[in-house]
Structures are given as C-alpha cells and as structure tokens.
Amino acid sequence: MSTVSISAADAFADSVTMLRRQLRHMLRYPALILTAAGVPVAILLLFVYVLGGALGAASGGRDAYVDYVVPGVILMTAATAAQGTAISVAIDMTEGIVARFRTMAIARVSVLTGHVLGSLIQTMLSIAAVTGVALLIGFGPSANAGEWLGAIGVLVMIILALTWLAVALAMAAKSVATASNMLTPLMILPMMGSGFVPTESMPTGLRWFAEYQPFTPFIETLRGLLMGTPIGDSALWAAGWCALITLGGFLWAKRLYNREPAK
C-alpha cells in the first residue's frame, strides 16, 4: 500500500475549498459583513462631523481633516475586521466539523487559510464601503491609478498580517469572549498612532510609542499613496512589520492548530 502524502497542489486546492466554505457562511449571514463595515463608517462620520471641526482647526478645517483621517479609519476598519475573524475562528474551533477535518487526509492548515482568505475578501469589501462613504462626504485623494493599486497592495499586506495574528490569538484564547477581548487593543492602536491626530501633538512618552508602533508606518504609507504626502522610510517599516507579523502569526497559529485538542 502506498503512503499518502499531501502535495502543495492539494494544499492549495484544500485552501480554496475552505475559502468557499467561508464565502458561503458570509453569503448566508450577510449581517456580519454589514456590521463589519457599519462600525468604521460610524467612526468616520463621528470623527469628521463631531470632532472634525475642532481637530481640523489648525490645518484647514473639517474638509482638510477628512483627507487626514480617512487612512486612519481605513486601518481601523482592518483592525475591526480582524476582531471579527478572531471571533469566527474561535467559534469554528468549538464545532464538531473541525474535529472531522482533523481526521481527514487534507492539508491541515487549509482550515486556517480558508478563514484568512475569507477575511481578506470581507475586509476589502468593508474598506471599499468605508472609502465610498468617505468620497461622498468630501474625501479627495490625489492618487493616480498606480498609486491606487499600490494602496490596495499595501492594504492586502496589512490585512494578511492582522488576520494571521487574529487567527493565532483566537486559537490561543480559551473562549470566544477571550478571543474577542484579545483583539480590542488592535482597534485602539490606530488612534495611538498618526491616524487621527499628528503624533507631534502628543506628550513625549506617548509620542515615542506612536512613532514606533506598526500602525504609524501603515497609516503614513497609505496616506502617502492616497494623498501624496511624503512616505520616507515608512513603506520599508510597513513592509517589515507586515512580514514579521504575518510570519509570526502564521507559525503560531499553525502550531496551535496542530496541538492536540484539549480534553
């Protein structure tokens, strides 16, 4: 009898199958997508109309502030979506179907790649919705076609990193509630960077943190591509952070999945 081995092509096919499973879940319960897009849209409107007048006073009023804040809100959308991913992974791991997958001759990690790819699509849709609303309320990006593509590429990179991290955290969590809570700091990080106000306006200690945490190069790169502000070495930092978080999240998640299910 021949031994069974799982090739890279099989692993790819299994991941596509698992992605299809995720997309079906989404289509069956579209409320999840609407919530994922709804919260960031509300935050966008809140910042622009409630706080925008005051926050934009120094730089040219509410209209200038829309242009400033949108990249930060887009990153917050990605962070909110990562929390959604963590919750859905944590729920999935409690289901009998995942135990079934473990006893089948399939690429083990495909359950997780299915979640990550599904979340990538869902997050890009949410970001498209947020960007659409932003354009309606006066967001005026200066990006040309190439810069738009660049922005999409950067976002894909960032979402993959955040999602793999979310998957790993969800599997490390003992319950669905813990999984959700573990991701909350991720939603606050865009605010503690250059997303909503310039870091120069912060007290020294916080400012130091804001300048070195990953969301600041993420936001500066995205803002540079969309609005034409200087990017400098932010792109390099963003790429480095993404590579590090993606690899770390992937290896951690994979190890947690291969661990024996707890009794």
């Binding site: 031994t3 289901e95 006893t103």
Partner: protein, 318 residues
C-alpha cells in the same frame, strides 16, 4: 497475541493514555477482522471516546502500537486518515451550510472528480432520506437528520474503516432503529469494517459480531454477543412492595442482588420463565404482597455487575 495484519482492519497492542495523573486507558489490546462490526461497550467516562480519538489520529497515545487499515497510526497518520471515516457523538456537520453543501464540501476535500461530486451527494441524500431537506441549513435539522447527514458525510470518502462513536446516543427510538438499519446496510453492501462505541447492550447485541467491555481503562471481557450474554445471565426481576414490613420480610427471604430501601424495591436475578415461576412460588408461599413486578432484560448495569461486581454510574462525569 498474534496479529495477522492481512486479515485485520484494526490492531492495537498495549495502548495507554493518561491525562495528567488520571489514567484513561490502561493497556488496551484489539484485533478486529476486516468486514466485521466491533462494539466497544462501556458507561460514560470509561474511555470509549478516547479509544476512537486515538485510533482515528485525533490524539496520540502515550504508549502502544496500532495499525488501522494496514497503516501505523503514529507513523503514517495521513494514510490512516485517507482510509477511515469518523462520526463522533458530537455532530460534525457545518450548521451554516445546507445538507447538500456539507456533502459537496466533503466531496471537494476527498478530491472526488468534478463529474462525480453532485452525483455522489445526490445519491447519499437519497440513501439517507435527506433529499427533501437538501437545501436547508443543517442547523435546522432534527437530531436524527443531523446524525444521518453526519454519517453520509463520512461515507463520501468511501472509507474502509468507519468509527461510530455512540451513533445513537440522544436519538429517539425510531431514529435509533433507522440508524441501526443504515449501519447493517453498510456492512452488508460495502464490506466495510465498523468500530462502534455504545452504552447500550441492546445496540451492541443487534449490530456487532464481537463486543468488548471497557471498564476503568481496561477491556474486562470480549466475545460474541451470545458469549457475553451467557456470562451476564438472563437479567433480573424487580419487585416493589407496598410497605416497609413487607419489604423487610421479603428482603430476608429472597436472594436480592440490590435493594432500594426508599422505594421498597428488590432486584432478584433471573428473567426466564423457570426463574420467574420459582420466584412467584416463593412469593405465594410466604404470602408477600407485591405492588409491582418487572422483568428486565440484561442491560449495561447487568453486564458490569456480572463482569466486575460493580454497579455503573451512568452519569459519571468524564
């Protein structure tokens, strides 16, 4: 023990598993011939599910050697996975997907040729009487329907060895009978080997060629249903008395195996016509007033009483 690998679907030697300091399996040996139905009988918490989890590669044993469908469980888990199907006691269906989508998911993961996917799903839906519900989400299914879908999903990959972990626990009597018919059909039509766990002696009796009894991590008996039943005896007769004096008097006269002082009830071994007649004669002669009399066929309690002298605690937490 001598093991003929060509003939055996499942073999296990000295399998042990402990969680922390708690020993769950304390040296299990198995040799299950191809094309047979094997039932592992035991109460909750006996370690039945752990045996299934180990043989189906879900968890690793601490010690022992096992082969399933010709492959070493520890060394070639993917080869074992390709040859087995598992239906656990907890539903392993995707509740968000419809019955048909669940089967198509299994078809994709088993890498069925594209042309066969839909035909295979339609065929299984028909066989398991799920055609009407095919396009409804599995979350809306009844317990019996979900269990049938679960088993149908297991069959998509055409497994040679099927593990059924308490396939009828929690089902109503009618769904249980349907499930039994399906399981018998699998062995007759496809020649698969079935490893079944159950808490019900009746279920093991009806389905299995061989039964092993698991008690505190060890196999305490193994044999055909007939052999096992001979060791267990005919069952017992339960007698309830109206008041304490009558009950106490009867307890002194009859050879009760167990007594319930609150319900004034005695359990007396026996259950065939001869033992029942003898018992009634003694009741008559002693002029005892019996409120209620029940003849019980042997159940798991009787098996354990006969084999270990212990009374099972059905609700023991695992």
């Amino acid at each position: 023990m001598t093991v003929d690998i060509g003939r055996s679907a499942i073999t296990a030697t000295a399998v042990r598993k402990a969680y922390g300091g708690h020993v769950v399996l304390d040296g299990i040996d198995l040799d299950i011939p191809r094309g047979s139905v094997f039932a592992l009988l035991g109460p909750n918490g006996a370690g039945k599910t752990t045996v299934v989890q180990i043989l189906s590669t879900l968890i690793r044993a601490d010690a022992g050697r096992m082969r399933v469908a010709g492959h070493d469980v520890a060394a070639e888990p993917d080869a074992v996975r390709a040859a087995i199907g598992v239906t656990g006691q907890f539903s392993a269906v995707d509740g968000f997907l419809t019955g048909e989508e669940n089967l198509l998911l299994m078809a994709d993961l088993n890498r069925l040729p594209r042309a066969l996917r839909r035909a295979s799903a339609a065929d299984l839906l028909r066989r398991f009487d799920l055609t009407e519900a095919a396009r409804k989400p599995a979350a809306t299914y009844s317990g019996g329907m979900r269990r049938r879908l679960d088993l149908a999903m297991t069959l998509v990959g055409r497994p040679r060895v099927i593990f059924l972990d308490e396939p009828t626990t929690g089902l109503d009597p009618r769904s249980r009978r349907t499930m039994w018919d399906i399981i018998r059909g699998l062995v007759a039509d496809e020649g698969v080997t079935i490893f079944l766990t159950t808490q019900y002696l009746e279920e093991a009796d009806r389905l299995a060629d061989r039964i092993a009894v698991l008690h505190e991590g060890r196999l305490v008996a193994e044999g055909s249903p007939g052999e096992l039943k001979r060791r267990v005896g005919a069952g017992h007769i339960s007698l309830r008395f109206a008041d304490r004096p009558g009950y106490e008097r009867a307890a002194g006269l009859l050879d009760a195996v167990s007594r319930d002082d609150e319900a004034y009830t005695l359990q007396v071994p026996g259950g065939d016509v001869a033992s029942l007649r003898a018992l009634l004669d003694r009741v008559e002669r002693a002029a005892l007033t019996v409120e209620e009399l029940q003849v019980r066929t042997p159940d798991l309690d009787d098996v354990f009483f006969a084999l270990t002298g212990d009374v099972t605690e059905q609700e023991t937490a695992r």
